[in-house]
Subunit: 303 residues, 2 copies
Protein backbone atom coordinates (compact mmCIF):
# COMPACT_ATOMS: atom_id res chain seq x y z
CA UNK A 1 0.00 0.00 0.00
CA UNK A 2 1.42 3.42 -0.86
CA UNK A 3 0.28 6.93 -1.61
CA UNK A 4 1.19 10.56 -2.09
CA UNK A 5 0.45 12.89 0.82
CA UNK A 6 0.90 16.65 0.96
CA UNK A 7 2.21 18.43 4.05
CA UNK A 8 -1.34 19.06 5.35
CA UNK A 9 -2.06 15.33 5.40
CA UNK A 10 -4.20 15.15 2.26
CA UNK A 11 -3.97 11.81 0.49
CA UNK A 12 -3.54 12.79 -3.18
CA UNK A 13 -3.09 9.34 -4.65
CA UNK A 14 -3.36 5.84 -3.26
CA UNK A 15 -2.38 2.52 -4.73
CA UNK A 16 -1.49 -1.06 -3.88
CA UNK A 17 1.41 -3.30 -4.70
CA UNK A 18 1.69 -6.71 -3.13
CA UNK A 19 5.14 -7.25 -1.59
CA UNK A 20 5.09 -11.07 -1.89
CA UNK A 21 4.94 -10.68 -5.71
CA UNK A 22 8.50 -9.35 -5.82
CA UNK A 23 11.51 -11.53 -5.12
CA UNK A 24 13.89 -8.68 -4.38
CA UNK A 25 13.58 -5.23 -2.88
CA UNK A 26 15.01 -3.78 -6.12
CA UNK A 27 12.18 -5.31 -8.17
CA UNK A 28 9.70 -3.98 -5.64
CA UNK A 29 11.09 -0.43 -5.80
CA UNK A 30 10.98 -0.59 -9.61
CA UNK A 31 7.33 -1.71 -9.48
CA UNK A 32 6.46 1.28 -7.28
CA UNK A 33 8.33 3.52 -9.73
CA UNK A 34 6.44 2.11 -12.72
CA UNK A 35 3.11 2.43 -10.95
CA UNK A 36 3.80 6.10 -10.17
CA UNK A 37 4.98 6.71 -13.75
CA UNK A 38 1.73 5.24 -15.08
CA UNK A 39 -0.29 7.68 -12.96
CA UNK A 40 1.95 10.72 -13.22
CA UNK A 41 -0.62 12.86 -15.03
CA UNK A 42 -2.48 12.96 -11.68
CA UNK A 43 0.27 14.92 -9.91
CA UNK A 44 2.89 16.08 -12.41
CA UNK A 45 3.19 19.84 -12.58
CA UNK A 46 1.11 20.25 -9.41
CA UNK A 47 3.21 18.33 -6.88
CA UNK A 48 6.79 17.28 -6.55
CA UNK A 49 7.86 14.16 -4.65
CA UNK A 50 10.22 15.36 -1.92
CA UNK A 51 10.75 12.11 -0.06
CA UNK A 52 9.62 8.60 0.72
CA UNK A 53 8.52 7.53 4.19
CA UNK A 54 8.31 3.80 4.72
CA UNK A 55 6.75 1.97 7.65
CA UNK A 56 7.77 -1.69 7.69
CA UNK A 57 8.22 -4.41 10.31
CA UNK A 58 11.71 -4.38 11.88
CA UNK A 59 12.70 -1.36 9.81
CA UNK A 60 15.59 0.50 11.43
CA UNK A 61 15.60 4.30 11.29
CA UNK A 62 19.37 4.56 11.69
CA UNK A 63 20.56 1.89 9.27
CA UNK A 64 17.72 2.31 6.77
CA UNK A 65 17.44 -1.48 6.61
CA UNK A 66 14.67 -3.95 7.34
CA UNK A 67 16.41 -6.42 9.63
CA UNK A 68 15.25 -10.04 9.87
CA UNK A 69 11.50 -9.39 9.50
CA UNK A 70 9.56 -12.60 10.08
CA UNK A 71 6.57 -11.79 7.85
CA UNK A 72 8.28 -10.56 4.69
CA UNK A 73 9.64 -12.73 1.91
CA UNK A 74 12.84 -10.63 1.79
CA UNK A 75 15.05 -12.33 4.31
CA UNK A 76 18.01 -11.11 6.37
CA UNK A 77 19.07 -7.48 6.03
CA UNK A 78 17.18 -5.56 3.36
CA UNK A 79 18.65 -2.11 2.45
CA UNK A 80 15.27 -0.58 1.63
CA UNK A 81 16.33 3.05 2.18
CA UNK A 82 19.34 2.73 -0.13
CA UNK A 83 17.33 0.99 -2.86
CA UNK A 84 14.51 3.57 -2.80
CA UNK A 85 16.94 6.49 -2.79
CA UNK A 86 18.68 5.01 -5.84
CA UNK A 87 15.40 4.35 -7.63
CA UNK A 88 13.74 7.72 -6.93
CA UNK A 89 16.66 10.01 -6.09
CA UNK A 90 14.80 11.54 -3.10
CA UNK A 91 15.33 11.29 0.65
CA UNK A 92 13.89 8.08 2.10
CA UNK A 93 13.14 7.52 5.79
CA UNK A 94 12.18 4.17 7.25
CA UNK A 95 10.94 2.96 10.63
CA UNK A 96 8.47 0.41 11.94
CA UNK A 97 4.70 0.81 11.62
CA UNK A 98 4.01 1.84 15.20
CA UNK A 99 6.70 4.52 15.12
CA UNK A 100 5.26 5.81 11.84
CA UNK A 101 1.80 5.91 13.45
CA UNK A 102 3.21 7.96 16.37
CA UNK A 103 4.78 10.48 13.99
CA UNK A 104 1.54 10.56 11.97
CA UNK A 105 -0.41 11.37 15.14
CA UNK A 106 2.06 14.16 15.94
CA UNK A 107 2.05 15.71 12.46
CA UNK A 108 -1.64 15.32 11.48
CA UNK A 109 -3.56 13.91 14.44
CA UNK A 110 -4.49 14.31 18.10
CA UNK A 111 -0.89 14.66 19.27
CA UNK A 112 -0.29 17.99 17.48
CA UNK A 113 1.71 20.16 19.88
CA UNK A 114 2.37 17.34 22.35
CA UNK A 115 5.99 16.73 23.27
CA UNK A 116 5.57 13.57 25.35
CA UNK A 117 3.18 10.79 24.38
CA UNK A 118 3.00 7.08 23.64
CA UNK A 119 1.24 5.42 20.71
CA UNK A 120 0.05 1.86 21.25
CA UNK A 121 -1.14 -0.10 18.20
CA UNK A 122 -3.36 -3.06 19.02
CA UNK A 123 -3.50 -5.30 15.98
CA UNK A 124 -2.22 -8.83 15.46
CA UNK A 125 0.47 -7.84 17.95
CA UNK A 126 1.09 -4.80 20.16
CA UNK A 127 3.30 -2.11 18.65
CA UNK A 128 4.43 1.11 20.27
CA UNK A 129 5.95 4.42 19.33
CA UNK A 130 7.29 6.62 22.11
CA UNK A 131 7.75 10.37 21.79
CA UNK A 132 9.85 12.24 24.36
CA UNK A 133 10.80 15.91 24.15
CA UNK A 134 9.07 16.05 20.77
CA UNK A 135 11.27 13.35 19.25
CA UNK A 136 10.58 9.71 18.51
CA UNK A 137 12.65 7.42 20.72
CA UNK A 138 14.78 5.16 18.52
CA UNK A 139 17.31 4.12 21.19
CA UNK A 140 21.01 3.57 20.62
CA UNK A 141 20.37 0.82 18.05
CA UNK A 142 17.18 2.06 16.36
CA UNK A 143 14.90 -0.58 17.90
CA UNK A 144 13.45 1.18 20.98
CA UNK A 145 9.73 1.07 21.71
CA UNK A 146 9.05 -2.67 21.81
CA UNK A 147 6.42 -2.52 24.55
CA UNK A 148 4.68 -5.55 23.04
CA UNK A 149 7.55 -7.59 24.43
CA UNK A 150 7.75 -6.45 28.02
CA UNK A 151 7.04 -9.42 30.24
CA UNK A 152 3.68 -9.91 31.94
CA UNK A 153 4.42 -13.40 33.22
CA UNK A 154 7.66 -15.29 32.53
CA UNK A 155 5.71 -18.57 32.70
CA UNK A 156 2.84 -17.23 30.61
CA UNK A 157 1.70 -17.51 27.00
CA UNK A 158 4.04 -18.49 24.20
CA UNK A 159 4.99 -15.47 22.08
CA UNK A 160 5.99 -15.29 18.41
CA UNK A 161 9.36 -13.88 19.55
CA UNK A 162 10.23 -17.22 21.13
CA UNK A 163 9.82 -16.11 24.75
CA UNK A 164 6.92 -16.54 27.18
CA UNK A 165 4.37 -14.14 28.60
CA UNK A 166 5.02 -11.03 26.46
CA UNK A 167 2.45 -8.24 26.74
CA UNK A 168 1.22 -8.75 23.18
CA UNK A 169 0.20 -12.34 23.91
CA UNK A 170 -2.43 -10.84 26.24
CA UNK A 171 -3.09 -7.37 24.85
CA UNK A 172 -3.74 -7.32 21.09
CA UNK A 173 -6.51 -8.55 18.80
CA UNK A 174 -4.89 -11.99 19.00
CA UNK A 175 -4.32 -11.72 22.75
CA UNK A 176 -7.98 -11.10 23.57
CA UNK A 177 -8.92 -14.09 21.38
CA UNK A 178 -6.60 -16.26 23.46
CA UNK A 179 -8.21 -14.84 26.60
CA UNK A 180 -11.72 -15.63 25.31
CA UNK A 181 -10.68 -19.23 24.70
CA UNK A 182 -9.13 -19.47 28.15
CA UNK A 183 -12.36 -18.15 29.70
CA UNK A 184 -14.53 -20.49 27.62
CA UNK A 185 -12.49 -23.35 29.09
CA UNK A 186 -12.65 -21.98 32.64
CA UNK A 187 -16.37 -21.17 32.87
CA UNK A 188 -19.46 -22.93 31.66
CA UNK A 189 -21.64 -19.87 31.03
CA UNK A 190 -23.48 -20.01 27.75
CA UNK A 191 -21.87 -17.68 25.20
CA UNK A 192 -22.30 -17.07 21.48
CA UNK A 193 -18.51 -17.16 21.32
CA UNK A 194 -18.70 -20.93 21.89
CA UNK A 195 -19.90 -21.29 18.28
CA UNK A 196 -16.92 -19.56 16.69
CA UNK A 197 -13.71 -21.44 15.85
CA UNK A 198 -10.47 -19.83 17.04
CA UNK A 199 -9.31 -19.08 13.51
CA UNK A 200 -12.52 -17.20 12.69
CA UNK A 201 -12.85 -15.22 15.91
CA UNK A 202 -12.08 -11.49 15.64
CA UNK A 203 -11.85 -8.62 18.11
CA UNK A 204 -14.93 -7.20 16.40
CA UNK A 205 -16.96 -10.33 17.20
CA UNK A 206 -15.87 -10.11 20.83
CA UNK A 207 -16.99 -6.47 20.92
CA UNK A 208 -20.35 -7.39 19.41
CA UNK A 209 -20.77 -10.14 22.01
CA UNK A 210 -19.98 -7.62 24.77
CA UNK A 211 -22.66 -5.28 23.37
CA UNK A 212 -25.11 -8.15 23.82
CA UNK A 213 -23.97 -8.56 27.43
CA UNK A 214 -22.06 -11.75 26.87
CA UNK A 215 -20.33 -12.38 30.22
CA UNK A 216 -17.33 -14.11 28.65
CA UNK A 217 -16.76 -11.14 26.36
CA UNK A 218 -17.10 -8.70 29.27
CA UNK A 219 -14.60 -10.63 31.35
CA UNK A 220 -12.22 -10.89 28.40
CA UNK A 221 -12.19 -7.08 28.05
CA UNK A 222 -11.71 -6.65 31.79
CA UNK A 223 -8.82 -9.13 31.89
CA UNK A 224 -7.14 -7.48 28.90
CA UNK A 225 -7.65 -3.97 30.27
CA UNK A 226 -6.23 -4.85 33.68
CA UNK A 227 -2.99 -6.14 32.16
CA UNK A 228 -2.69 -3.17 29.79
CA UNK A 229 -3.59 -0.68 32.54
CA UNK A 230 -0.87 -2.06 34.82
CA UNK A 231 1.77 -1.94 32.11
CA UNK A 232 0.77 1.58 31.03
CA UNK A 233 1.21 2.65 34.67
CA UNK A 234 4.78 1.30 34.45
CA UNK A 235 5.28 3.18 31.18
CA UNK A 236 4.09 6.40 32.86
CA UNK A 237 6.61 5.85 35.69
CA UNK A 238 9.23 5.64 32.94
CA UNK A 239 8.52 8.63 30.72
CA UNK A 240 5.54 10.49 32.25
CA UNK A 241 3.68 11.19 29.00
CA UNK A 242 0.86 13.69 28.57
CA UNK A 243 -1.25 11.13 26.71
CA UNK A 244 -1.35 7.53 25.58
CA UNK A 245 -3.04 6.80 22.24
CA UNK A 246 -4.67 3.47 21.50
CA UNK A 247 -4.95 2.54 17.87
CA UNK A 248 -5.93 -0.43 15.71
CA UNK A 249 -8.36 -3.34 15.68
CA UNK A 250 -8.81 -3.74 19.40
CA UNK A 251 -9.06 0.04 19.97
CA UNK A 252 -12.21 -0.01 17.81
CA UNK A 253 -13.97 -1.62 20.78
CA UNK A 254 -14.19 1.94 22.18
CA UNK A 255 -15.47 2.20 25.75
CA UNK A 256 -15.02 -1.53 26.28
CA UNK A 257 -11.29 -0.88 26.11
CA UNK A 258 -10.76 2.79 26.99
CA UNK A 259 -12.80 2.94 30.21
CA UNK A 260 -11.37 -0.11 32.01
CA UNK A 261 -7.81 0.57 30.79
CA UNK A 262 -8.03 4.08 32.27
CA UNK A 263 -9.53 2.72 35.51
CA UNK A 264 -6.85 0.09 36.01
CA UNK A 265 -4.02 2.39 34.98
CA UNK A 266 -5.09 4.93 37.62
CA UNK A 267 -5.17 2.17 40.26
CA UNK A 268 -1.60 1.17 39.45
CA UNK A 269 -0.18 4.69 39.11
CA UNK A 270 2.16 6.23 41.64
CA UNK A 271 0.14 8.99 43.38
CA UNK A 272 2.08 11.88 41.76
CA UNK A 273 0.96 10.70 38.30
CA UNK A 274 -2.73 10.17 39.03
CA UNK A 275 -5.38 12.02 36.97
CA UNK A 276 -2.73 13.54 34.72
CA UNK A 277 -2.42 11.13 31.80
CA UNK A 278 -5.04 11.00 29.04
CA UNK A 279 -5.90 7.74 27.30
CA UNK A 280 -7.39 8.69 23.95
CA UNK A 281 -8.14 7.25 20.52
CA UNK A 282 -5.91 8.02 17.59
CA UNK A 283 -7.27 10.59 15.12
CA UNK A 284 -5.81 8.48 12.34
CA UNK A 285 -7.94 5.48 13.27
CA UNK A 286 -10.48 6.14 10.56
CA UNK A 287 -8.06 7.50 7.98
CA UNK A 288 -5.48 5.69 5.98
CA UNK A 289 -3.11 5.65 8.91
CA UNK A 290 -0.38 3.49 7.41
CA UNK A 291 0.15 5.87 4.49
CA UNK A 292 -0.30 9.06 6.54
CA UNK A 293 2.06 7.82 9.25
CA UNK A 294 4.78 6.91 6.80
CA UNK A 295 4.45 10.21 4.93
CA UNK A 296 4.69 12.10 8.22
CA UNK A 297 8.21 10.73 8.68
CA UNK A 298 9.26 12.89 5.74
CA UNK A 299 7.31 16.02 6.68
CA UNK A 300 8.58 15.83 10.27
CA UNK A 301 12.18 15.70 9.05
CA UNK A 302 11.76 18.51 6.49
CA UNK A 303 10.09 20.76 9.04
CA UNK B 1 25.93 18.84 51.80
CA UNK B 2 27.13 21.32 49.22
CA UNK B 3 30.26 22.30 47.35
CA UNK B 4 31.83 24.28 44.55
CA UNK B 5 32.75 22.33 41.42
CA UNK B 6 34.55 23.62 38.33
CA UNK B 7 33.55 22.56 34.81
CA UNK B 8 36.12 19.73 34.81
CA UNK B 9 34.50 18.15 37.85
CA UNK B 10 37.04 19.25 40.47
CA UNK B 11 35.53 19.71 43.90
CA UNK B 12 37.01 23.04 45.05
CA UNK B 13 35.16 23.39 48.34
CA UNK B 14 32.88 21.13 50.32
CA UNK B 15 30.72 21.82 53.34
CA UNK B 16 27.73 20.61 55.28
CA UNK B 17 24.54 22.24 56.47
CA UNK B 18 21.83 20.19 58.09
CA UNK B 19 18.44 20.83 56.48
CA UNK B 20 16.37 19.89 59.58
CA UNK B 21 17.98 22.82 61.44
CA UNK B 22 16.13 25.35 59.28
CA UNK B 23 12.40 25.90 59.53
CA UNK B 24 12.04 27.56 56.16
CA UNK B 25 13.74 27.29 52.81
CA UNK B 26 14.60 31.01 53.01
CA UNK B 27 16.52 30.48 56.27
CA UNK B 28 18.28 27.51 54.70
CA UNK B 29 19.34 29.51 51.61
CA UNK B 30 20.62 32.29 53.89
CA UNK B 31 22.64 29.76 55.90
CA UNK B 32 24.29 28.47 52.70
CA UNK B 33 25.00 32.08 51.72
CA UNK B 34 26.61 32.84 55.09
CA UNK B 35 28.68 29.68 54.99
CA UNK B 36 30.03 30.58 51.54
CA UNK B 37 30.68 34.17 52.66
CA UNK B 38 32.71 32.87 55.60
CA UNK B 39 34.90 30.82 53.26
CA UNK B 40 35.07 33.22 50.35
CA UNK B 41 38.83 33.75 50.59
CA UNK B 42 39.14 30.17 49.28
CA UNK B 43 37.63 31.01 45.89
CA UNK B 44 37.20 34.76 45.51
CA UNK B 45 39.21 36.18 42.63
CA UNK B 46 39.92 32.70 41.27
CA UNK B 47 36.42 31.43 40.62
CA UNK B 48 33.03 32.91 40.02
CA UNK B 49 29.80 31.15 40.97
CA UNK B 50 27.81 30.78 37.74
CA UNK B 51 24.92 28.69 39.00
CA UNK B 52 23.47 26.39 41.62
CA UNK B 53 22.52 22.81 40.89
CA UNK B 54 20.34 21.18 43.51
CA UNK B 55 19.46 17.48 43.79
CA UNK B 56 16.59 16.94 46.21
CA UNK B 57 13.80 14.40 46.68
CA UNK B 58 10.68 15.21 44.59
CA UNK B 59 12.39 18.26 43.11
CA UNK B 60 10.77 19.25 39.83
CA UNK B 61 12.99 20.50 37.01
CA UNK B 62 10.20 22.46 35.30
CA UNK B 63 8.59 24.18 38.28
CA UNK B 64 11.78 24.57 40.32
CA UNK B 65 9.87 23.39 43.36
CA UNK B 66 10.25 20.52 45.79
CA UNK B 67 6.75 19.02 45.79
CA UNK B 68 5.46 17.08 48.81
CA UNK B 69 8.73 15.42 49.81
CA UNK B 70 8.15 12.89 52.58
CA UNK B 71 11.58 13.10 54.21
CA UNK B 72 12.07 16.86 54.45
CA UNK B 73 10.75 19.11 57.18
CA UNK B 74 9.63 21.67 54.58
CA UNK B 75 6.13 20.53 53.72
CA UNK B 76 3.96 21.03 50.65
CA UNK B 77 5.37 22.99 47.71
CA UNK B 78 8.80 24.51 48.38
CA UNK B 79 9.98 27.07 45.77
CA UNK B 80 13.67 26.21 46.20
CA UNK B 81 14.78 27.49 42.77
CA UNK B 82 13.13 30.88 43.26
CA UNK B 83 14.54 31.28 46.78
CA UNK B 84 18.10 30.39 45.74
CA UNK B 85 17.98 32.65 42.70
CA UNK B 86 16.85 35.54 44.92
CA UNK B 87 19.52 34.81 47.53
CA UNK B 88 22.45 34.32 45.14
CA UNK B 89 21.35 36.04 41.95
CA UNK B 90 22.59 33.16 39.76
CA UNK B 91 20.80 30.54 37.68
CA UNK B 92 19.54 27.64 39.81
CA UNK B 93 18.53 24.24 38.44
CA UNK B 94 16.83 21.57 40.51
CA UNK B 95 15.92 17.94 39.98
CA UNK B 96 15.86 14.75 42.01
CA UNK B 97 19.02 12.93 43.17
CA UNK B 98 18.91 10.11 40.63
CA UNK B 99 18.48 12.53 37.72
CA UNK B 100 21.40 14.58 39.05
CA UNK B 101 23.49 11.40 39.24
CA UNK B 102 22.64 10.61 35.59
CA UNK B 103 23.72 14.07 34.46
CA UNK B 104 26.85 13.76 36.62
CA UNK B 105 27.72 10.48 34.89
CA UNK B 106 27.22 12.12 31.50
CA UNK B 107 29.27 15.23 32.25
CA UNK B 108 32.13 13.74 34.34
CA UNK B 109 31.76 9.95 34.42
CA UNK B 110 31.46 6.76 32.39
CA UNK B 111 28.57 8.04 30.26
CA UNK B 112 30.64 10.74 28.52
CA UNK B 113 29.62 10.73 24.87
CA UNK B 114 26.67 8.39 25.42
CA UNK B 115 23.30 9.58 24.14
CA UNK B 116 21.10 6.81 25.55
CA UNK B 117 21.59 5.34 29.00
CA UNK B 118 19.85 4.69 32.30
CA UNK B 119 21.20 5.41 35.78
CA UNK B 120 19.84 3.24 38.60
CA UNK B 121 20.63 4.29 42.18
CA UNK B 122 20.30 1.51 44.72
CA UNK B 123 20.15 3.07 48.16
CA UNK B 124 17.34 3.14 50.70
CA UNK B 125 15.07 3.08 47.66
CA UNK B 126 15.60 2.68 43.92
CA UNK B 127 16.02 5.89 41.97
CA UNK B 128 16.49 6.29 38.24
CA UNK B 129 17.57 8.87 35.72
CA UNK B 130 16.90 8.18 32.05
CA UNK B 131 18.82 9.81 29.22
CA UNK B 132 17.47 9.62 25.67
CA UNK B 133 18.94 11.43 22.66
CA UNK B 134 21.46 13.04 25.01
CA UNK B 135 18.78 14.65 27.18
CA UNK B 136 17.45 13.74 30.58
CA UNK B 137 13.83 12.55 30.40
CA UNK B 138 11.67 14.78 32.63
CA UNK B 139 8.31 13.89 31.08
CA UNK B 140 5.43 16.28 30.59
CA UNK B 141 5.19 17.06 34.31
CA UNK B 142 8.85 16.87 35.37
CA UNK B 143 8.50 13.60 37.30
CA UNK B 144 9.56 10.96 34.75
CA UNK B 145 12.02 8.23 35.68
CA UNK B 146 10.35 6.63 38.69
CA UNK B 147 11.47 3.08 37.95
CA UNK B 148 11.54 2.33 41.68
CA UNK B 149 7.75 2.31 41.50
CA UNK B 150 7.05 0.03 38.58
CA UNK B 151 5.13 -2.95 39.84
CA UNK B 152 6.77 -6.32 40.41
CA UNK B 153 3.79 -7.93 42.10
CA UNK B 154 0.51 -6.10 42.82
CA UNK B 155 0.01 -8.32 45.89
CA UNK B 156 3.63 -7.98 47.00
CA UNK B 157 5.54 -5.99 49.59
CA UNK B 158 4.18 -2.78 51.10
CA UNK B 159 5.93 0.27 49.66
CA UNK B 160 6.54 3.69 51.21
CA UNK B 161 4.44 5.19 48.38
CA UNK B 162 1.34 3.48 49.75
CA UNK B 163 1.06 0.82 47.05
CA UNK B 164 2.15 -2.82 47.01
CA UNK B 165 4.95 -4.64 45.24
CA UNK B 166 6.97 -1.72 43.84
CA UNK B 167 10.40 -2.58 42.43
CA UNK B 168 12.23 -0.72 45.21
CA UNK B 169 10.67 -2.95 47.88
CA UNK B 170 12.71 -5.79 46.33
CA UNK B 171 15.66 -4.07 44.69
CA UNK B 172 17.45 -1.58 46.95
CA UNK B 173 19.58 -1.80 50.08
CA UNK B 174 16.32 -2.05 52.04
CA UNK B 175 14.79 -4.49 49.57
CA UNK B 176 17.58 -7.03 49.88
CA UNK B 177 17.31 -6.81 53.69
CA UNK B 178 13.62 -7.70 53.41
CA UNK B 179 14.58 -10.59 51.12
CA UNK B 180 17.18 -11.86 53.62
CA UNK B 181 14.54 -11.88 56.35
CA UNK B 182 12.08 -13.69 54.10
CA UNK B 183 14.71 -16.34 53.31
CA UNK B 184 15.70 -16.70 56.98
CA UNK B 185 12.03 -17.49 57.65
CA UNK B 186 11.74 -19.87 54.71
CA UNK B 187 14.89 -21.96 55.21
CA UNK B 188 16.59 -23.35 58.27
CA UNK B 189 20.20 -23.19 57.01
CA UNK B 190 22.60 -21.80 59.56
CA UNK B 191 23.60 -18.24 58.66
CA UNK B 192 25.52 -15.49 60.38
CA UNK B 193 22.71 -13.20 59.29
CA UNK B 194 20.47 -14.87 61.89
CA UNK B 195 22.39 -12.93 64.58
CA UNK B 196 21.71 -9.48 63.14
CA UNK B 197 18.51 -7.55 63.96
CA UNK B 198 16.62 -6.11 60.98
CA UNK B 199 17.38 -2.54 61.98
CA UNK B 200 21.13 -3.20 62.07
CA UNK B 201 21.41 -5.26 58.90
CA UNK B 202 23.09 -3.48 55.95
CA UNK B 203 23.74 -4.38 52.31
CA UNK B 204 27.44 -4.43 53.23
CA UNK B 205 26.87 -7.13 55.85
CA UNK B 206 24.96 -9.21 53.29
CA UNK B 207 27.86 -8.83 50.85
CA UNK B 208 30.33 -9.89 53.54
CA UNK B 209 28.20 -12.93 54.33
CA UNK B 210 28.13 -13.83 50.60
CA UNK B 211 31.94 -13.59 50.51
CA UNK B 212 31.97 -16.21 53.28
CA UNK B 213 29.68 -18.43 51.19
CA UNK B 214 26.59 -17.85 53.28
CA UNK B 215 23.82 -19.59 51.32
CA UNK B 216 21.11 -17.19 52.50
CA UNK B 217 23.17 -14.22 51.32
CA UNK B 218 23.84 -15.90 47.95
CA UNK B 219 20.17 -16.62 47.44
CA UNK B 220 19.23 -13.08 48.46
CA UNK B 221 21.53 -11.65 45.76
CA UNK B 222 20.17 -14.10 43.19
CA UNK B 223 16.54 -13.26 44.05
CA UNK B 224 17.26 -9.52 43.88
CA UNK B 225 19.19 -9.80 40.62
CA UNK B 226 16.48 -11.84 38.92
CA UNK B 227 13.84 -9.20 39.66
CA UNK B 228 16.12 -6.33 38.62
CA UNK B 229 17.29 -8.20 35.49
CA UNK B 230 13.71 -8.80 34.36
CA UNK B 231 12.73 -5.17 34.89
CA UNK B 232 15.86 -3.86 33.14
CA UNK B 233 14.92 -6.06 30.16
CA UNK B 234 11.56 -4.24 30.10
CA UNK B 235 13.38 -0.90 30.32
CA UNK B 236 15.54 -1.91 27.34
CA UNK B 237 12.40 -2.77 25.34
CA UNK B 238 11.24 0.76 26.14
CA UNK B 239 14.25 2.94 25.34
CA UNK B 240 17.03 0.61 24.07
CA UNK B 241 19.90 2.24 25.97
CA UNK B 242 23.60 1.69 25.25
CA UNK B 243 24.31 1.11 28.95
CA UNK B 244 22.70 0.84 32.35
CA UNK B 245 24.66 2.18 35.32
CA UNK B 246 24.21 0.82 38.81
CA UNK B 247 25.11 3.14 41.64
CA UNK B 248 24.85 3.33 45.43
CA UNK B 249 25.01 1.07 48.49
CA UNK B 250 23.85 -2.14 46.87
CA UNK B 251 26.03 -1.60 43.76
CA UNK B 252 29.06 -1.77 46.07
CA UNK B 253 28.45 -5.52 46.23
CA UNK B 254 30.19 -5.64 42.83
CA UNK B 255 30.09 -9.02 41.07
CA UNK B 256 27.43 -10.28 43.48
CA UNK B 257 25.09 -7.81 41.83
CA UNK B 258 26.50 -7.08 38.35
CA UNK B 259 27.03 -10.66 37.14
CA UNK B 260 23.60 -12.11 37.98
CA UNK B 261 21.75 -8.93 36.94
CA UNK B 262 23.44 -9.13 33.53
CA UNK B 263 22.70 -12.87 33.27
CA UNK B 264 19.01 -12.49 34.08
CA UNK B 265 18.56 -9.38 31.95
CA UNK B 266 19.94 -11.27 28.92
CA UNK B 267 17.52 -14.14 29.59
CA UNK B 268 14.57 -11.77 29.59
CA UNK B 269 15.64 -9.63 26.63
CA UNK B 270 13.92 -9.74 23.26
CA UNK B 271 16.44 -11.41 20.87
CA UNK B 272 17.21 -8.19 18.92
CA UNK B 273 18.51 -6.55 22.12
CA UNK B 274 20.73 -9.41 23.36
CA UNK B 275 24.45 -8.80 23.98
CA UNK B 276 24.11 -5.11 23.17
CA UNK B 277 23.46 -3.43 26.52
CA UNK B 278 26.27 -2.88 29.04
CA UNK B 279 25.62 -3.02 32.77
CA UNK B 280 28.40 -1.05 34.42
CA UNK B 281 29.30 0.71 37.66
CA UNK B 282 29.06 4.44 37.95
CA UNK B 283 32.39 6.31 37.82
CA UNK B 284 31.02 8.64 40.48
CA UNK B 285 30.56 5.81 42.98
CA UNK B 286 33.77 6.61 44.83
CA UNK B 287 33.59 10.37 44.41
CA UNK B 288 31.28 12.84 46.01
CA UNK B 289 28.50 11.97 43.62
CA UNK B 290 25.73 14.03 45.18
CA UNK B 291 27.69 17.27 44.80
CA UNK B 292 29.17 16.41 41.40
CA UNK B 293 25.80 15.33 40.03
CA UNK B 294 24.06 18.49 41.17
CA UNK B 295 26.85 20.71 39.81
CA UNK B 296 26.66 18.91 36.45
CA UNK B 297 23.07 20.17 36.07
CA UNK B 298 24.53 23.65 35.70
CA UNK B 299 27.48 22.77 33.45
CA UNK B 300 25.22 20.71 31.16
CA UNK B 301 22.88 23.67 30.74
CA UNK B 302 25.67 26.22 30.15
CA UNK B 303 27.35 24.02 27.58
Amino acid sequence: MFGLVDNAGNLLLEDNISTPDYKTIEEFALAVYNKLESRKEEFEGKYQIVGFGIGAPNANYYSGNIEYAMNLNWQGIVPIKEVFEKQFNVKTIVTNDANAAAIGEMVYGNAKGMKDFIMITLGTGLGSGIVINGELVYGHDGFAGELGHITVNPNGRKCGCGRMGCLETYVSATGIKRTVYKLLAKYNNPSKLRDIPFNQLTAKMITEAAMQDDTIAHEAFDYTAKILGAKLADAVAFSSPEAIFLFGGLANAGDYVFLPVKKYMEQFLLPIFRNKVKIIPSALQKLNAAILGASALVWKEIE
